[in-house]
């Protein structure tokens, strides 16, 4: 018997692809007007642009409207079970470092039933891109509040208003040692594509929260941030290496105050030099965390962009390295010797 360890599948040169190559033959079944459509288009366009390979791209999802995503991508795809996509994807990514593994998930799928797998995947830094479609509602089950719904939310399961303090997905991810954390929204394809591109390029787990409009059960949840008329006053763009400022004329900004804390300021009050220069590459996640606390929800000026992107050992790579290291030291395992390793005796 031979060694049997899988080798990466060889990748022949494939011709450059267009968006259409990434579109599967399945009819897309989301409600007309759903934000999921624009995310799908952004993803298909991006993968074509980046020269990704269909045969080595896998989309894994849980259950939810958003989780139907893999069916519409002309790649390998698994629509698994509710909340467990990160676990499935971890096994796949660790076993097959040659693949590009994406996880598509919703706020219920990722943060409610799947919360534990999410935070463990983040701390391990497995090479997976986790894209969370946050619509602050359970869409597929027709409108119950989710772990990101605001307090007081009236839904089918909370006719008198919800009582649960929501998670801030960015804060939670940073508390769970995430190495790449970003937020974008479904009304800006360019920004989405830029963030997804960076997520794709990052080694380790990339976590991207996308504010996504569910026009049937939670319409307009992100209107302050996404609508053309209010966006300037509510969307704080995070650009690496640039001072953090927003407002139609860049009249507002973020600055660290006397008390040592970050505040929203008028640029005129503090001066341009006092603005915080965004640095997503800080080893210490504290400042990114603090940025995530600027808004208590999408009705206050909210940072959008990459909060954190740092280089740390990638789990699947480390697993492979350890395998190679032990094999280097001990040689490829000899089955016959293994079976004899507890001592033997021979009967003639």
């Amino acid at each position: 018997m031979s060694d049997g360890v899988a080798t990466a599948v060889s990748r022949p040169d494939t011709p450059a692809s267009t968006r259409k190559d990434w579109v599967s033959d399945q009819e897309v079944r989301w409600c007309p007007g759903c934000g999921d459509f624009t995310i799908l288009a952004a993803m298909q366009t991006l993968l074509a642009e980046m020269g990704a390979r269909r045969e080595s791209t896998v989309f894994v999802s849980g259950i939810g409207c958003s989780s139907r995503f893999p069916y519409y991508m002309n790649t390998y795809g698994i629509h698994s079970i509710h909340g467990r996509a990160p676990a499935f994807a971890t096994g796949l990514a660790v076993a097959r470092p040659d693949l590009d593994v994406w996880v598509i998930t919703g706020d219920g799928d990722a943060l409610s039933i799947g919360g534990n797998h999410l935070i463990h995947t983040l701390r391990r830094n497995v090479n997976i891109n986790i894209i969370l479609f946050n619509n602050q509602i359970y869409g597929l089950t027709k409108g119950q509040f989710s772990p990101t719904s605001e307090v007081g939310k009236v839904t089918k399961s909370t006719p008198y208003g919800s009582l649960d303090t929501p998670f801030n997905p960015v804060s939670l991810a940073l508390g769970a040692e995430a190495t790449f954390v970003a937020r974008t929204h479904d009304m800006d394809r360019k920004h989405m594509m830029e963030v997804l591109r960076q997520a794709y390029d990052h080694r380790g787990t990339s976590f991207v929260e996308i504010y996504q409009n569910c026009n049937v059960y939670n319409d307009g949840a992100f209107n302050d941030i996404t609508s053309k008329d209010r966006r300037a006053d509510y969307l704080i763009p995070l650009v690496h290496g640039e001072p953090i400022r927003y407002g139609k004329d860049g009249e507002f900004g973020v600055s660290r105050g006397e008390d040592g804390m970050l505040h929203l300021v008028k640029v005129a009050d503090v001066g341009e030099d006092a603005l915080l220069i965004h640095d997503m590459s800080l080893d210490n996640p504290s400042q990114a965390f603090e940025l995530s606390r600027l808004a208590r929800g999408p009705h206050e000026p909210t940072p959008i962009g990459v909060f954190r992107s740092v280089d740390c050992p990638e789990y699947g790579y480390e697993v492979a390295r350890q395998l190679a290291e032990v094999e280097g030291r001990k040689g490829i395992g000899d089955l016959s010797a293994l079976l004899r390793s507890s001592g033997t005796w021979v009967v003639e």
Partner: protein, 632 residues
């Protein structure tokens, strides 16, 4: 100090059952397994029964803290660790109290008399000293000041007395080695290797061992030594491994046979953790072990790896089986191979984690929502865990299905001489990965349909990510056969449900026909005993005993619990009286009744310990009596 052996009276005996018992801190498991190792070298046939206390160390000296190890060895083929010990080694009063009633009357008891002080007696719950008050009268008791003698032996080594005392299990080992004329050098070699990094401990253990040996030789208190002649073994190379190790090795071998790297996703749980520990060492066999955040992720990651073309395995015990159910349902629905290992322990709920039971059978057969048939294979002994693992992997890979592999605390922790298989003779397992399209659409475009099947086995054609041109989507929603596209129409669902069941029926055909062990020819015996999993040795031993009495008794053992071998129904139909002994309330019995409508009798024992041969013997006798009564 050297070991001299005089010509002291040596008696030949056919078989001996020894039980070592002491406090958890006394090293009884180590002593027992060393004694087993050298006994295997004779070679005698052996069977062992380690018995751990609950997981956390109980206060020293208490009954709850007693740990024991029983070894049965003989000059002939034996099956069980023995019903009642001939010899009990009791390192403290609690050990004596816990095990005295099991010892054969007239049996030998060796006690460490130093430990029978008032405090220890009190902790064990003895009002008076059992060595003095007549309690041990029916036995041949040897009171040996093991602590003192050990300290003495270690005096010049320079270890602190507290540390020296720790070596007293080696004293006991030495003494027993003398009594049963066991080879000496292998133990000396082993001590030297194992404790090489700590000179003082090594020296203390060596001296204690020798002191024990010499004590037997020189103390004028033992009438005789015993000898158990070598057993006749089939020729071959043997080793002695616990079931969990053999199972781990079986998985590695299956991985090589299929040329699919092994991926283990697991969450620690007694008594399954040792498989994770064992496989974690084998990185140079290309084995990836992933300690997941819980059992769900253990199963999920294994399924993800399987999707990627690995041999995906997850290991657990009862509580983990509950948690993995939803993921296994997905695997069955996707038709992806994986193996779920369940080392059964006492339930329900947390139960008694360190004790054995067979009560997860119905849970693995029926414990998923919807119609979700999944094959089940069970290991019958430590060595067989190796074969069962390969068989589970074979079914999983060839039929693209999750497979449950059942073992239990007894198989997992006990050991037996195991003849190493001829690795080169093992048949390869071919995953038949597809790398070209298997479908042409209306427009003439070639593509891959994930649910195109082999017409005989119903196994689907399988392509893994990384294969250009074979991109496809699958999921847990009902899908159309062939294309795998989501399909909600009613007749398709019925068809798919039947196909998933048909695959199990096909597997049934791939299983070798069951062979009945009936000296009087199929259907000749008056009673048929059906065993599965770890009841095998006790049932066979019990059957042999009744045959010695001249009774006509047949036996059949099931390795495959779902689907059953195709001739099981026919076999059962040949016998009027059938008994099904199980370490549960009758789970296989339930399955057999439902499937074959046979009025079998359940012999149930739910005590966290295996059957004794004598219990099976008397169950068979009862069954025959009942029949006679019914006839008359």
């Amino acid at each position: 100090m050297t070991l001299t052996t005089t010509s002291k009276n040596v008696k030949e005996v056919n078989q001996v059952v020894v039980r070592f018992a002491g406090d958890s801190g006394d090293g009884m498991q180590l002593t027992g397994s060393r004694f087993t190792a050298v006994t295997s070298l004779v070679p005698n046939d052996t069977a062992t029964l380690p018995d751990y206390p609950a997981e956390i160390r109980a206060p020293a000296g208490t009954l709850a803290g007693v740990s024991s190890f029983q070894l049965h060895f003989s000059d002939h083929d034996i099956l069980t660790p023995g019903d009642k010990p001939d010899v009990l080694v009791a390192m403290n009063p609690a050990a004596l109290k816990a095990h005295l009633s099991m010892v054969k009357s007239g049996g030998i008891i060796l006690v460490n008399s130093d430990s029978f002080d008032e405090r220890s007696l009190g902790k064990a719950g003895y009002g008076s000293n059992p060595l003095d008050d007549g309690t041990v009268k029916p036995y041949r008791v040897y009171e040996i000041p093991m602590t003192k003698l050990t300290l003495e032996a270690c005096k010049s080594v320079g270890v602190k007395p507290r540390d020296a005392e720790r070596s007293k299990n080696f004293f006991a080992l030495g003494l027993l080695s003398w009594m049963y004329t066991r080879p000496v050098q292998p133990t000396i070699d082993w001590i030297e290797e194992r404790f090489a990094s700590n000179e003082m401990v090594k020296e203390a253990n060596l001296r204690s061992y020798k002191a024990g040996y010499n004590f037997g030789e020189t103390a004028e208190i033992f009438e005789a030594r015993y000898e158990v002649a070598p057993s006749r073994f089939e020729s071959g190379t043997y080793t002695n491994v616990p079931g969990n190790t053999a199972l781990a090795w079986g998985l590695v071998v299956a991985s090589r046979l299929a040329k699919m790297p092994l991926f283990l996703g697991s969450y620690p749980i007694t008594p399954a953790s040792d498989i994770l520990h064992e496989l974690a060492k084998l990185k140079n066999f290309g084995v990836r072990t992933f300690q997941a955040e819980d059992e769900i992720a253990g199963a999920g990651s294994a399924l993800g790896a399987a999707y990627g073309g690995c041999l995906g395995v997850t290991t657990t015990s009862g509580p983990g089986i509950d948690l993995k159910a939803e993921t296994i349902g997905l695997a069955a629905h996707l038709e992806l191979p994986m193996v779920i290992v369940d080392i059964q322990r006492v339930g329900p709920s947390t139960g008694i984690p360190t004790k054995t039971e067979q009560a997860d059978l119905l849970a693995v057969v029926h414990g998923r929502h919807g119609e979700s048939p999944v094959p089940v294979v069970a290991a019958m002994s430590p060595g067989h865990a190796f074969d069962a693992a390969i068989e589970a992997c074979r079914i999983a890979i060839e039929y693209r299905t999750p497979v449950y592999l059942l073992s239990d605390g007894y198989v997992a922790n006990s050991s037996e001489p195991w003849r190493l298989p001829d690795l080169d003779a093992l048949p390869a397992i071919d995953p038949h990965f597809l790398d070209t399209p298997n479908h042409v659409d209306d427009q003439g475009n070639a593509s891959y349909w994930p649910y195109v099947r082999d017409p005989d086995t119903f196994a689907r054609q399988w392509a893994i990510p990384g294969t250009p041109g074979l991109e496809h989507r699958m999921g847990g929603l009902e899908h159309a056969d062939g294309s795998g596209n989501v399909a909600y129409d009613t007749l398709n669902h019925e068809k798919m449900t039947q196909l998933r069941q048909a695959k199990l029926d096909a597997i049934s055909k791939s299983i070798p026909l069951l062979a009945v062990d009936d000296p009087d020819g199929l259907g000749g015996a008056e009673v048929l005993a059906v065993s599965w999993g770890s009841t095998y040795p006790a049932v066979l031993a019990g059957v042999r005993r009744t045959r010695k009495r001249g009774l006509k008794v047949a036996m059949v053992h099931l390795v495959h619990l779902n689907p059953f071998p195709s001739n099981l129904g026919e076999i059962l139909g040949r016998y009027r009286k059938i008994i099904v002994p199980e370490i549960n309330m009758g789970q296989l019995w339930t399955l057999i009744r439902a499937r074959y409508l046979v009025d079998a009798e359940s012999i149930s024992k739910v005590q966290g310990i295996p059957f004794k041969a004598a219990e099976i013997e008397s169950a068979i006798l009862d069954a025959l009596d009942k029949r006679r009564v019914a006839r008359s």
